[in-house]
């Protein structure tokens, strides 16, 4: 699968905007496992995407093949070998900005 890294996190991927995470064609993994796999190779990713309780940060979204993971079971959402995943800062805004 391919994981698209937002510009704000590329300092932790050596500047790479897309990271390939290997997965056998007949296997699936969860979004949480994708983040952990990324973090093994690129420390710094995990704590910026997840809080210390392992929850997806409130203003971070993960999109899996065009769907927001929050509507697919959150970090338990399933991804496949050919999935395209985007980590993206949420389009948050309002009075406190």
């Amino acid at each position: 699968m391919r994981v698209h890294i937002p510009s704000a996190l590329r300092r932790w991927t050596g500047g790479c905007d897309v990271i390939e995470v290997p997965l056998a064609a007949d296997m699936r993994m969860t979004a949480a496992e994708v983040i952990e796999a990324l973090a093994r190779e690129h420390p710094g990713i995990r704590d910026r995407v997840l809080d210390e309780q392992g929850e997806l940060r409130r203003h971070v979204n993960i999109f899996i093949d065009g769907e927001n993971a929050r509507s697919l079971g959150g970090l338990a959402a399933q991804v496949g070998a050919n999935s395209e995943i985007w980590i993206h800062p949420a389009l948050s805004g309002g009075a406190h900005d």
């Binding site: 420390p43 910026r48 809080d51 210390e52 940060r57």
Partner: protein
């Protein structure tokens, strides 16, 4: 005290450093001891809120800040070259234990606790907890005793969150420390943080109903007598003369009992500064005329200091960590507003000038003498 200019900073021994955290980044100001002109660098951490800052001297100058990205979380970062470069921890360096259900929201307080050791930094955070670093702010560990205090279920977040904002370490007996929490109260330890007890006798709660929690806003030591402390409380201004065992009100003479900061003179006992706001319901200076109020008798009487401050149409707020003093003689005082103005005085508050006027809303102002 003239306007700041944005410049690369080249500090010299004896210069005064201002570390200003805003909702959109940090700004660093530097001046010689005359404090006539400040050079500014920034924004550092553009787009991030910077809630706290501290300077660690002892010959190896380090600035540490509590920065927070609304997307990617909060942490403590540091610079060993006055902001030319910054180091962010690869992994979060302030974390609550797994399974605790808590996650870091913001780092409200950073204090170089030199009485505990040259490398020690204490951090106060939201949700309310204290963390200690023994490596100059790079890694931290939770103070378990305060985190698991039996009062914790009674603590409530205010508009700003549930924050531990004031940390005082007794200068002669560093096993004695104080921590103030909004809304939670003031807690004291005599065993370097192994156990904590509330020290709030005499303080009013707001609202005055059963179950309401205390909301201290800023706590400071008297510089000559650490048994004496001063408190801007949510309702009321207070002093203790007995290490927090009881508190007496010292708000008579002030235009209101509400405000956020409290500043103590760095050497002269009994001299303190306050920035009163109209009321809890209307958090701006009374009549739009911002004034710093000074007491030189430990709160028995107060005088307004307004030379150089607006006489009208000044409806800004000064938050609890956005007012501080340097250690020079005469003392310099500095406050930042939610309107983005940074004011300074180099004559102990007698007169004020805008150092700069158009920053993002200011969250904290800390000072240090470059050694």
């Amino acid at each position: 005290m003239a306007m700041a200019t944005n410049a690369k900073l080249s500090p010299a021994t004896g210069d005064i450093l201002l570390m200003v955290g805003t909702v959109k980044g940090a700004f660093i100001f530097l001046s010689d001891r005359e404090r006539g002109n400040f050079r500014m660098s920034g924004p550092h951490f553009p787009g991030q809120s910077v809630w706290s800052a501290a300077f660690i001297g002892n010959g190896t100058s380090r600035i540490i800040v509590g920065n927070k990205s609304n997307h990617w979380g909060a942490m403590v970062s540091w610079s060993d070259d006055f902001g030319a470069t910054w180091k962010e921890p690869t992994e979060g360096n302030i974390k609550f234990p797994k399974g605790s259900g808590e996650s870091l929201n913001a780092v409200w307080a950073l204090e170089a606790a030199t009485a505990l050791g040259p490398e020690v930094v204490l951090a106060g955070v939201d949700p309310a907890a204290m963390f200690r670093s023994d490596d100059r702010g790079e890694t931290f560990r939770l103070n378990e005793a305060l985190f698991s205090h039996p009062d914790r279920p009674k603590w409530n977040p205010g508009f700003g969150g549930l924050c531990l904002h004031s940390i005082l370490v007794h200068p002669q007996n560093p096993k004695r420390m104080y921590a103030a929490i909004s809304s939670g109260g003031i807690y004291c330890t005599d065993d370097a943080g192994d156990s904590w007890a509330a020290c709030v006798n005499g303080l009013r709660v707001h609202p005055d109903v059963p179950g309401a929690t205390l909301c201290p806003h800023k706590l400071r030591f008297d510089p000559e007598n650490p048994s004496r402390m001063y408190l801007q409380n949510h309702p009321g201004v207070y002093r203790t003369d007995n290490e927090g065992r009881s508190w007496v009100t010292i708000e008579n003479g002030l235009p209101s009992d509400f405000g956020f900061p409290m500043v103590a003179h760095p050497r002269r006992g009994g001299t303190i500064y306050s920035f009163p706001l109209t009321s809890d319901e209307f958090r701006v200076p009374r009549d739009g005329a911002p004034r710093v109020w000074r007491s030189r008798d430990a709160g028995a009487s107060w005088e307004p200091l307004g030379k150089g401050l607006p006489d009208r149409d000044g409806f800004f707020t000064v938050l609890r960590d956005a007012f501080s003093a340097d250690t020079l003689d005469p003392v310099g005082l500095y406050f930042g507003t939610r309107g983005g103005q940074l004011y300074g005085s180099n004559d102990e508050g007698e007169s004020w000038r805008a150092i700069t006027e158009f920053l993002p809303p200011i969250l904290c102002v800390k000072t240090a003498l470059v050694d």
